[in-house]
């Protein structure tokens, strides 16, 4: 451990997940201070480059979620500055953040992903693709999920059960990105699979809807889901899912930490929904929850990630 290190915890920014990011950042800063690091909190704003270039900090801890953060934007700046930071590189972050590109990479690596049809706003507006929406729905079947292609989040995501719900769902999703995916809805056990390099495998977290299926809008409703750590899976299945998650992490070139969201189908296939390179790090987020179940405190986790970044410091 490098107690003499000064850590810039970067959070906030212009992402739609700014608020959660600030909470993650606060939590990370508290945990690192508790372990004796010198810590400064930085908003990902216009002053960021200047502050980092001032030499005040030795390493950056990225607690960013969503666009202008988790998409690699800040990683690219840090790489340019030659500044060590936690988490995935620009390339991997960008790839993971683009759900469509990530799907291709995961599929090439032999992993299962739900089928999806991309729609761009330009194609809809200028090329009359709207006429093909019925065909897309036929191909994927209903219900289906409409989601922004980029945006590491359930923001703008809707479940479509009837064709007449599609236009409003597309309007909402295009609010977040100019490319939207119509994605096959996969039913099964929803899992959050944490991958932290250099640590023993962390247990899977199972997300259990309280009633019926896990409605995406219900993620914003009080007490809509419960969480089970470790997931209620037989050991062989759990291991297989965690191996898939690790393979996904490697396939996208992720580093240090990622959270792989997946669904285990009744047939036993682990379908990977997305790989988050900037997972939530609030006191109740899923990766810390998995770490806790494995006997690691939040301070252990953040210290581990910080030390990995410090070890990458140019000598």
């Amino acid at each position: 451990m490098s107690f003499d290190c000064s850590v810039a915890v970067i959070a906030g920014g212009l992402s739609f997940e700014r608020e959660v990011s600030l909470r993650s950042g606060q939590r990370v800063a508290d945990a690192l201070r508790e372990r004796g690091y010198r810590v400064g909190g930085l908003d990902a704003d216009h002053q960021l480059v200047e502050t980092l270039a001032s030499g005040e900090f030795d390493v950056a801890f990225l607690a960013l979620h969503g666009r202008f953060g988790e998409d690699g934007t800040v990683a690219s700046i840090l790489e340019l500055l030659g500044f060590p930071y936690t988490g995935s590189s620009f390339d991997a972050s960008r790839l993971a953040f683009d759900k469509l590109a990530a799907k291709s990479a995961l599929r090439r690596a032999g992993l299962s992903v739900p089928s999806a049809i991309p729609l761009t706003e330009g194609a809809l507006r200028e090329l009359g693709v709207g006429a093909l929406l019925d065909r897309a729905m036929e191909e994927l079947g209903l219900p289906l999920v409409v989601k922004p292609n980029r945006g590491g989040s359930a923001l703008g995501i809707r479940l479509i059960e009837r064709p007449d719900q599609l236009p409003a769902a597309l309007m909402a999703a295009f609010g977040y990105d100019d490319t939207v995916l119509l994605e096959q809805r996969v039913v099964g056990t929803e899992l959050a699979l944490s991958v932290v390099d250099g640590l023993a495998t962390l247990p899977a977290v199972e997300i259990r809807p309280k009633e019926g299926w896990y409605d995406f809008s219900a993620r914003y409703t009080h007490g809509a889901a419960e969480f089970r750590v470790p997931a209620n899976l037989d050991p062989a299945t759990a291991t297989r899912c965690l191996e898939s998650a690790h393979a996904a992490h490697l396939a996208l070139g992720c580093r240090d930490i990622s959270r792989v969201d997946a669904i285990l189908t009744p047939e036993g296939t682990c379908q990977i929904l997305e790989v988050n390179t900037g997972p939530g790090l609030t006191s109740t987020s899923l990766v810390p929850m998995a770490a806790d179940a494995a006997g690691l405190t939040f301070s252990d986790l953040t210290t581990h990630l910080t030390d990995r970044a410090i070890a990458r410091r140019p000598r």
């Binding site: 809809l124 359930a154 236009p167 597309l170 609010g175 993620r219 939530g280 609030t282």
Partner: protein, 437 residues
């Protein structure tokens, strides 16, 4: 992270214990968006913040010094629950400007008029009671009411404010249904969020209808002294002292940081309101009350107010001009004669809430209309504030917003939700209410 949002609540160890009135208070998508809207890169036409930078700070500083020098120990001490008697007298003088003849003895000072809304709801409302309010209505009032598990029943507005016929019909219907209406909540002047003013000719009628149905009127008037085109008609309280509770505020005519509002109540309500106030917080700040008293008794505050009015009038003009220049056909808006807000209505197929993410990406924010209704109306409307951003930012904000609406209209058309663009469509659209309900 969305899952984190979910977790913050789903994993909440106290979730089984919350009072019914606060259970619906949860994090939401829209809240997440507003966290970004506060960044300086974004032109926020969302918040209703007074432009405090226009205040004469040297003079305010002098008043603060005087309070400490002349009455420091008392100003830093607890005080009576009803409020500083000197301030209450000054407030009656302010109210006189709107035709109200009231006694300082019937004024209760509160922490902004927002607290008065809370205290009066607490005093009058049981779960299941009904409050009748304009639709749209001030979002802060709806929040205060919702804690007491009341049902808010909206009555539509038009360019002349609350529609008396609809009010009468609504009260009759509620009476037939055996519902208990505790009060009519109204913002008659320069309405938040609608920007309209209750016409003089309607005021007596509204009061008569309320009396006939034995419904108390809660008149919320924070913007009354911020008229740009002459003074608004006399306050409802001036016309009916016995059945109107008048809520005033220094937030817009001075500054919100002092947290000073007040209620002028019929004498029968006074003692109970004071007890409710004392139970809530013992008393309002002695210090800020002393500052406000001195400001309004010894400083030429009318000059400051005149300056503020001029600032807001210019911004209102810029916003209305920009809307007329930039916003695509099919969008209508109100033309406020004072206050802070314009209420704009998009073509029916557009959802202002769904459009907000795109607007914030384009670096402009507004408040989606649904926030101002307790019953899910208002999805194609939005509130635009001109009070805080300087004129060039307002111009830029409206330009960005217009671009977003253009894109959204094109997308809606492509998805079959709107008729194809008609090149001969009427560009001289009415700058009016457009039948917004």
């Amino acid at each position: 992270m969305p899952l984190s949002f979910c977790l913050m609540r789903a994993d909440d160890p106290f979730r089984d214990r919350y009072a019914r009135g606060t259970r619906s208070m949860t994090a939401s998508e829209i809240r997440a968006l507003f966290a970004v809207a506060s960044r300086p890169e974004i032109v926020s036409l969302a918040g209703g913040m007074p432009f405090t930078a226009a205040l004469p700070f040297d003079a305010v500083g002098d008043v603060l010094d005087e309070v400490l020098a002349d009455e420091g120990p008392a100003a830093l001490q607890y005080a009576g629950g009803q409020g500083d008697p000197r301030l209450r007298e000054v407030l009656t003088e302010l109210m006189r400007l709107e035709g109200i003849r009231g006694s300082g003895g019937d004024v209760v000072v509160t922490e902004g008029s927002q607290q008065a809304l809370d205290l009066l709801s607490r005093m009058f409302c049981d779960p299941g009671d009904v409050i009748v309010a304009e639709g749209p209505s001030y979002v802060g009032a709806l929040s205060a009411f919702s804690q007491y598990q009341v049902e808010v029943c909206h009555v539509p507005l038009d360019d002349d404010g609350l529609d008396p016929d609809s009010l009468a019909a609504t009260l009759e219907r509620l009476e037939r249904d055996g519902r208990r209406v505790k009060f009519l909540y109204t913002v008659p002047n320069f309405h938040n969020p609608a920007g309209v003013t209750l016409a003089a000719g309607r005021r007596e009628r509204v009061l008569e209808i309320a009396r006939r149905h034995n419904v108390l009127v809660l008149e919320d008037n924070p913007y009354g002294l911020l008229g740009f085109e002459g003074d608004p008609p006399d306050a409802l309280r001036a016309l009916d002292p016995d059945n109107v509770v008048y809520l005033g505020s220094l937030s817009k005519v001075f500054c919100p940081g002092l947290r000073i509002g007040w209620a002028l109540v019929p004498p029968a309500l006074r003692e109970r309101l004071i007890l409710v106030k004392e139970a809530a917080d013992l008393c309002s700040s002695s210090f800020t009350q002393a500052v406000a008293y001195r400001w309004f008794s010894s400083y030429p505050w009318r000059e400051t107010l005149k300056g503020l009015r001029e600032v807001y009038r210019e911004r209102r003009d810029v916003m209305l001009d920009s809307l007329a220049e930039d916003v695509p056909a099919g969008v209508t808006w109100t033309r406020p004669a004072g206050g802070f807000y314009v209420w704009a209505r998009l073509p029916d197929h557009l959802d202002a809430r769904a459009m907000l993410a795109k607007a914030i990406t384009a670096r402009v924010a507004y408040v989606p209309g649904g926030a101002f209704y307790a019953d899910g109306q208002g999805s194609s409307s939005m509130r635009l504030s001109y009070c805080f951003p300087p004129p060039d930012r307002i111009r830029e904000g409206v330009r960005r917003l217009a671009g977003v609406i253009d894109e959204e209209l094109a997308l809606a058309r492509a998805l079959g939700g709107l008729p194809a663009e008609d090149p001969d469509s009427d560009q001289g659209r009415p700058a009016g209410w457009g039948g917004v309900q």
